[in-house]
Amino acid sequence: MIYRTVRDLPTEEYFAPGHGLCAGCPIGILAKIVLKVSGKDSIIVNATGCGEVSTTLYPSTAWRVPWIHLAFENAAATASGVRAAYDAMIKKGLLNKDANIIVFAGDGGTADIGLQALSGALERGDRFLYICYDNEAYMNTGIQRSGATPFGAWTTTTPLGAKLSGREIFKKDLIGIAIAHKVRYAATAVPSYPFDLANKIEKGLKVNGPAFIHVLIPCTTGWRFDPSFTIKIGKLAVQTGLWPLYEYENGVFRTTVPVPRRKPVIEYLKLQGRFKHLLNKPELITEIQKYADELAQRFGLGPIEQ
């Protein structure tokens, strides 16, 4: 199945409305698309984070498929346990059908505190799809910097002052870490390109081993933009080259959404409060533009439109 239009997506909804995600948060869009593709026979493993606390406030749950959360840093190990239980029980005849096992974890639970468990599971080759929803800071605790916070971004632990203008280092190359574990499938995605996302989920679920999808999640609260801009900001991340959409399959990279003419990074930065201070610091914007140019070269994106 190749998803091209909204009519290609199943009509079933396994992510229920009425959850407590912020207005404009694309985690809900992501969950909805993931479950449309993976279907009823899916099990969701959630790390502690925004996605977890806002969708499972007891006695309610937004998940119409089995869902489990144990702790913050162990989502990958939890998925390995579910996988192992299915494998063992199917072999012993205690279960008669398999399920898609899908992890949902934020950038904190993936790039930082959960990296060890993730590394262990990827190295062992445990068969599940790991989706990192990357909102580029610890949004659940109130916008503290994470290893995935971009260069120049304001957070509450990279505040602005005479000595600091936001985060002084670039984002951790999370997907690069996953690929270094020789995962069979890895991809970047953003809910602003839902069919690209859906196709990647489908591929990731078919892999006989771990698959890793790194999804950029614009956060209205932490990135400080109007909720109506969520999709637009996600698109700009792609069109500026800051978030190239690609997949890595059997050792080969392929850009899935071509960008023949790139927009300058300022178009992306200026819509977000977390980068507002950069407007007075052109040298920092130049740094970010250089970072985007490097990515563009690597993934075959076009030149900046004049």
Binding site: T56, P66, H69, A71, S80, A85, K92, L95, Q116, R124
Partner: protein, 399 residues
């Protein structure tokens, strides 16, 4: 009753536990190696490699992940096993609470070992004592035979629908894990019959979806916690029932609190684990000299068998409690504090003394035990202990 034909094998404690795990036919094993638990997991991975045990063996990158894997597998409906020791158990600490509060029947063997710093690979109980508030059932075996027997009972207890709690089987590092002893083992079919598969009340199943481990606001958290407290309190009769049934099957009966010559004893020692063998030997010697000594061996630490202990110590003239762990800054060791509290609560006016002994694998000899009884005799005569805590065998400790 026709006597069951058992198979006597020469096994180390670790191998005895691994053998029991194989016989109960677990589905998922996950562990990280740590001395002195290592040979147990090696043996289990061999069983899986040879096909003697049909299970998934997940060699994780840490103990934190080991317990996460088996907890999740138990939530999926699998029968699981993990084991660890010392720092490994401490690294699992966070997840121990989660396993118990989610009411998942995980069974874990702990090869008891001291905790760092300084790093020390030898035996004491400080790793297990650290987990006393996590909601796990904690049983301490005295011998490899008992470790084997307890493992089989642990699955029956954990999976009982009246309990649904994780069980930790503790046995002393090296002293039991690495000593080879004759161990009577049950035929496979009897173990299978004794530990039947119980349909879990919930599991991760797409046909009946549930959300496990959700966020519970102040309006609900407290009640969930209380259910867990209630479950462990109510597990006491189930543990007794399982011990009795296992005794009927194997001929080996265990009680939550085992006693030696306590009925008419004036001076009583309370101990846990393998050290109890030495203490029992000393009690028998003292009895030959008409000294009315007795020994209580705590087999069950959580839930704490309050009533059994009260019954046994009420008539003594002095009671000494051996702790193989410390609680720095507290009045004494963890077992001592527990017993002191119940004595106060139930109005038992018997002088008590705490003996901290055997930390980090320091030998506890018969003469050390003899010294403890001597102090108890003095306490019984004066009616008042000289001091609450004694540090046995500690150089430089000069009371």
């Amino acid at each position: 009753m026709q006597k069951l034909k058992q198979i006597r094998q020469t096994l180390s404690g670790n191998y005895a536990v691994a053998y029991a795990v194989k016989q109960v036919d677990v589905d998922v094993i996950s562990a990280y190696p740590i001395t002195p638990q290592t040979t147990m997991v090696e043996k289990l991975s061999e069983y899986v490699a040879t096909g003697e045990l049909q299970a998934e063996f997940i060699p994780v990158e840490s103990e934190h992940s080991a317990l996460s894997v088996v907890t999740a597998a138990a939530a999926t409906g699998a029968r699981v096993f993990t084991s660890t020791s010392s720092q490994g158990l401490l690294l699992m600490h966070e997840i121990l609470f989660i396993t118990a509060a989610l009411r998942l029947p995980v069974v874990m063997a702990v090869a008891n070992r001291a905790v760092s710093a300084p790093i020390n690979i030898w035996n004491d109980h400080s790793d297990a004592m650290d987990q006393r508030d996590t909601g796990w059932i904690q049983i301490f075996a005295e011998s490899s035979q008992e470790a084997y027997d307890t493992m089989i009972q642990a699955y029956r207890i954990a999976e009982d629908l009246r309990v649904r709690l994780p069980v930790m089987v503790n046995f002393d590092g090296y002293i039991l894990t690495h000593t080879y002893e004759p161990v009577d083992t049950l035929p496979d079919e009897h173990v299978k019959e004794f530990t039947p598969r119980v349909k879990p009340p919930f599991r991760l199943n797409p046909d009946e979806p549930v959300s496990i481990g959700t966020l519970a606001p102040p309006d609900y958290y407290y009640e969930v916690k209380y259910q867990e407290i209630n479950a462990i309190e109510n597990s006491l009769p189930v543990i007794e029932e399982v011990s009795k049934k296992y005794g009927d099957l194997s001929g080996r009966y265990y009680s939550n609190v085992e006693q030696t010559s306590v009925n008419d004893a004036d001076i009583v020692l309370v101990s846990m684990g393998a050290l109890s063998g030495t203490a029992r030997h000393v009690v028998r010697e003292l009895r030959q000299h008409n000294i009315k000594a007795g020994l209580i061996r705590l087999r069950l630490f959580r839930p704490f068998p309050i009533k059994s202990i009260i019954d046994l110590i009420s008539d003594a003239k002095a009671v000494g409690i051996i702790d193989r762990a410390v609680s720095p800054g507290a009045v004494g060791g963890p077992v001592f504090m527990e017993i002191a509290a119940i004595m106060k609560l139930y109005g038992i006016d018997v002088p008590i003394v705490n003996f901290i002994a055997g930390l980090g694998g320091r030998d506890v000899t018969p003469s050390d035990i003899k010294y403890m009884f001597d102090e108890l005799q003095l306490t019984a005569i004066s009616g008042k202990p000289k001091r609450p805590v004694y540090y046995i065998g500690l150089r430089g400790w000069n009371p």
